[in-house]
Amino acid sequence: MKKIALILFAAIAVIACDKNDDNETVVENVNFDINFSQNFNGTSITNANFNNVDYTVANGEMISFSRMRYLITDITFTNQAGVSTVVDEYNFVDVGEEIGATIENISLPVGAYTVSARFGFTEADNTTNAYPDLNNASWNVPEPMGGGYHYMQLEGQYINDIGATVGYAYHTISAAQDVMTPEVTREDTSILFTASNIVISNDNNIINVKMNIAEWFNPWNLNERDNGLMGNYDAQIDMNINGQTAFTIE
């Protein structure tokens, strides 16, 4: 529906432009895709790489992945005149289930854009039970932990300091304090990331949003923080700091 509206709008814009000024060249629209991919310091990670304890984090531990789900919101293209188009309100990526890896056939006029997106929901959008599809994915954060939705669930195993294989559940949410009490509060730890001068044309019709997983663990000591991290405010703040460099748009 939204797409139709957009196309209509674009069409009207083009027609309008035609009528008003015969000399001006018509700006054509181009259809493009946005791909979401993951890597570990440049090595591509898909579900084919799951469950291999093969990746060394900054602190030295070897880790594997068994679940990788994250939420990217407010994907916005701003043209050089400063006009913004939100191409998707939220995109839920589930690497294991191969869900959300691509947003297809977005249509915008050829040109250079500033592209921005956000890891997780802003406070304003992070409303408990507002998104049935995310409820269905069991993506909620329980009310006593602040409510709303997870930003990321990254799970797997690592080899700990005494050589044992142990699970980790690196779950990122809106950082909460006083969890499991009626006084629980939360603060926005979603992460905005931006790239300027992204040119969309017939030759360049794929935009890549890349997440470097290694950044989430740089620095991070899994021996001290491997599980039960949702209610750990300090851990959430450190995740937010690490995540600032996890995403790039190309």
Binding site: M145, N227, M230
Partner: protein
């Protein structure tokens, strides 16, 4: 919708023109799906297969078949024999017994709210990718109904009532395994449970006891139960993620679960998270029915976890067997779990044996 209307009219015209001298032809009546109000608010609408829409006649035929022993080779066992309405559409025996007196190797599964399984993976190991596909299996399974489909179809075709019922439901009196499984799938999709005490609490019609409320807090608390990541919550009232996990039951697997189907060693010992609705009626528990009581289940998560390579990362303090809940917390967790049971399920007139 409009297009479907035209199609139906076209089909109708077609039938009436060929069957001019026969009495009548039948068009099944579409059946609206009524989800409990909480499900409507919280979850996406269930989607039905395009080639098997819910109809009044289809559901009614499906119900008759579900309770009909004629689907088994010796006419002694119906689906309901292992999926009883008063046992949460499950079976109180650890392993159900098939027609030859042989026990299977897994505990029967409750058939409730399956229309909401959008992941569309059925059985403990995910071996079936649609409800229709699942239903083909028990009829020919050697330790269940041990029949053949040609034989089952011939038996139904020879009964006085079935040809007409198939004609009313599907426009043909020629019975096939595809149509029989479609009808049963339609019936199973109508089996909905959404009226537990906890549902009433969420709807503001009942209040939890302090023990139940504390149990729910334990269920959500990462440091104690942390059950919600796999078993749903007040935001996902199916009370399952319909996904596959190893919850730390065994060091070695006699049953590989999901790994049996995918062949991937990373899937060995993973089973579908069961819904926690109606636990009051669905004992015994786990894929092999190893636990007779909810106390056994809670003790397992509290202090009985064992390590294996595929154990889920959410299972904590495995070296100690679990997070060691206090006795008081265990009692509260149990009280909460029981508040998810829906006593209106067993006696719902729509789910009773019509034969």
């Amino acid at each position: 919708m409009f297009k479907k209307g035209i199609l139906i009219i076209l089909i109708f015209t077609f039938f009436s023109s060929c069957n001019d001298d026969e009495q009548e032809s039948y068009i099944p009546t579409p059946l609206a799906f009524e989800a409990p109000v909480l499900f409507q608010q919280l979850l996406p609408n269930p989607s039905f297969p395009a080639d098997n829409p819910q109809t009044v006649e289809g559901v009614s035929l499906g119900r008759k078949l579900f309770f009909d022993k004629n689907l088994s080779a010796d006419n002694t066992l119906a689906c309901a024999g292992c999926h009883a309405p008063n046992q949460g559409f499950s079976d109180q025996r650890q392993f159900s017994i098939g027609i030859d007196g042989i026990a299977g190797f897994r505990n029967s599964m409750p058939l409730v709210n399956l229309a909401f399984n959008t992941r569309n993976k059925f059985n403990w190991d995910g071996s079936a990718s649609s409800l229709e596909e699942q239903i083909l299996e028990p009829v020919i399974n050697e330790i269940e109904m041990h029949n053949t489909w040609p034989n089952a179809v011939a038996t139904l075709q020879a009964q006085s009532d079935y040809p007409l019922l198939f004609e009313q439901a599907f426009g043909t009196a020629t019975i096939s395994k595809e149509l029989a499984t479609k009808a049963i799938a339609q019936f199973i999709r109508t089996i909905v449970s959404g009226n537990s005490k906890f549902d009433k609490h969420l709807r503001g019609e009942a209040s939890l006891t302090p023990s139940e409320a504390n149990g729910f807090a334990i269920f959500l608390d990462e440091d104690r139960g942390d059950c919600f990541h796999c078993h749903g919550s007040d935001s996902n009232p199916i009370w399952s993620d319909n996904d596959f996990h190893n919850n730390g039951l065994d060091e070695e697997f006699t049953d590989r679960g999901l790994g049996l189907i995918t062949g991937d060693p990373a899937h060995f010992g993973l089973f579908k998270s069961p819904s926690l609705r109606n636990l009051a009626y669905t004992a015994p528990y786990m894929h092999d029915g190893r636990f007779e009581t909810l106390d056994d289940v809670i003790n397992h998560y509290s202090e009985g976890l064992v390590f294996s390579e595929t154990i889920d990362p959410l299972m904590k303090s495995i070296a100690q067997g679990g997070v060691q809940l206090t006795e008081a917390d265990k009692a509260d967790l149990k009280a909460f779990l029981l508040s998810l049971s829906d006593p209106s399920l067993a006696n719902n007139p729509n789910y009773q044996n019509p034969n």
